[in-house]
């Protein structure tokens, strides 16, 4: 009994030493894996704001945190800088129905650092996490991916899936031309004064065309 206890204690102490050794090695390797040379004052300020507004208790980052809102590890690479900037300015406007992020009334001087921080986070070497999807989503038309990525489905439904705040787009191509849809994306007020739809003028031209082509093809 005493002998086996001594063996167990020795193993436990050894495991603590191994753990500390691995910690030293890990801390030596992490600057390269996290591009710590890219941590500018702006990035640090962004992290400070991220913590100040307690973003992490709704969102996960590196998969850790609240599970209530999307993981932001790859937000920068998926959404892009322009989208993030517009979203952070007034989140409910970009996402008017369903689960919402409150408008934190961030000043422009705060949005810049937060976006810079998210850019830095998106470049951390995470050993391939999150995994890329394996399912049929890959074969979906490019326009539909943009439709989902821009949260159009919050307000608009296609074939029963999506919100009801805006018109159903299942047969959009039978009603409107691609050019009309492009105008609508660039300036929603051009067709209806006071439209609550946010403008998507900031999207890259290619994406807007893909989206218009996809929606125009829905007959």
């Amino acid at each position: 009994m005493a002998a086996s206890r001594n063996v167990l204690s020795a193993l436990t102490i050894m495991s603590a030493i191994v753990f500390l050794g691995m910690t030293v090695d890990t801390l030596r390797k992490m600057p390269a894996r996290t591009h710590s040379d890219q941590i500018s004052d702006q990035v640090v300020e962004g992290k400070r704001l991220w913590q100040h507004y307690d973003c992490n208790d709704c969102h996960t980052i590196l998969g850790i945190g609240g599970y209530y809102a999307p993981d932001v590890t790859k937000s920068y690479s998926v959404r892009g800088e322009a989208w993030l900037q517009q979203f952070l300015k007034n989140p409910p406007a970009m996402h008017p129905t369903g689960r919402q992020m409150p408008n934190l009334r961030l000043a422009d001087a705060e949005i810049g650092p937060v976006v810079a921080y998210l850019k830095w986070v998106s470049e951390i070497d995470t050993n391939g996490w999150p995994p890329s999807p394996q399912g049929v989503a890959r074969q979906e038309p490019e326009g539909h991916k943009i439709f989902l990525a821009q949260h159009c489905n919050t307000c608009h439904a296609i074939q029963g899936s999506g919100g009801t705040l805006g018109p159903d787009l299942t047969h959009e191509g039978s009603h409107q031309t691609e050019a009309w849809i492009l105008d609508q994306l660039n300036n929603p007020a051009s067709h209806k004064a006071g439209s609550v739809m946010p403008s998507f003028a900031q999207l890259p031209g290619r994406e807007k065309e893909e989206l218009a082509e996809y929606l125009g093809g829905l007959k």
Partner: protein, 457 residues
Amino acid sequence: MRYQSQKLAREYFLAALLLFLLQVVFGILGSVKYVWGYDPLLNIVPFNVARTIHLNLLVFWLLLALMGATYYMVADEIQTEIYSVRLARIQLGILLVSGVVAVVGYFFQWSFGMPFLEQPTFIKLLIVVAALIFLYNIGMTMFTSHHQLTRTTATLLGGMGMLAIMFLFGIPFMSNLSIQYYFWWWVIHLWVEGAWELIAAALVAWALIKLTGVPRRRVEGWVFAEVALVLLTGIIGTGHHYFWIGTPHYWLWWGGIFSAAEPIPIMLMLVDGVRSLLKARTLATVNTMALAWLGASTFVHFMGAGVWGFGQTLPQINRWTHGTQITASHGHFAFWGAYGMLAIALMYTILPEISGRKPANGKEGLSFSAFLSLNFSMIFMVMALLIAGIVQVYLQRVMGRDFLEVQEHLRLWFQVRLVAGAIFTVGTVALLWDLFRLARPLPATEPVTQPKLAPVS
């Protein structure tokens, strides 16, 4: 109860129970937000505030309960009064004030912003002060006594010391998020899968000796083995949190293998507990509810921490499940089984001894209804979250659907969770009712006149 200072436990327990109720209320608030698309409280109590308070109160009430039980147990084990009742009261006061200030502050965005460790730095320093007072008080009690430390008290002191040291790693702001999270896990993981496990093992051993009459030698023989195995698997097992946060690839091997062995000591605790409980029948007075909570705790500890944890600890699986509702399911199940139920078991053990009331036997009062409603609703909640998590992994991670779109598909399971949460709330109220009844001192009766004994010459 043999020592007046043991009454301290009651003050700690009653404070803990009120915070527990408040924790549950904020849990309900959070789960309503999951079900309703429209949130009327979006700008008053947003989800992050509700979650922060839910998590903070969890840690607060468990710590208060474990500390209260420690004061009681240490006096009991080394047969002496606690070194200073006044210090223990000051400690409780500091903890309650810092808790209240922290909770109120969260409504005004006064947050450090790391999950579980949202307390602003000066509150954290207050908590450190309270912990130091506690360690000093317990340490002085132990070292000024003529009695030798028992193995259980030594384990307990070790756990409390480790808890205090690990907390320090959660205090500084680090500019690199990955490194911040590396050390954040030294608090979170090395608490719940290290320090707290030591504290729990010691308190379970003490309660088993007390409640079942199983010889100390036998119970204590296991404690060291369990504790050594907890640390042996748990320390390097921290690596199962170092898969995806910017840490080197070798953690996938080390973390996976060592954490896969973490259920072994928990299984030993279960076997050990069940074997002791089977012998409980031979005792004259049986504290039925304390035994029920203790027995159920060892089982749910094994299921929630051991099985649910093992289920997603291998990197091949964790890669898909990391950061989904499956983690929420595991978190609820493990915390409830390992620590929540244990705290309640200790209250059922200790409160009747302090108040002089008959231990709850489950036939009178609300004790058995509370036991059933709390445990069954928790199992429902955990199952609902597990199913939500599996559907989420499939739709979001495998099929690549958008997060918010997938959340819509999970609504049914969030509704089930809300119903379970409502039942859990009712159970909490019943539990508080029952434990407050048990805690009330017996009304003063005619002083019993002791027959005068002839002085021993």
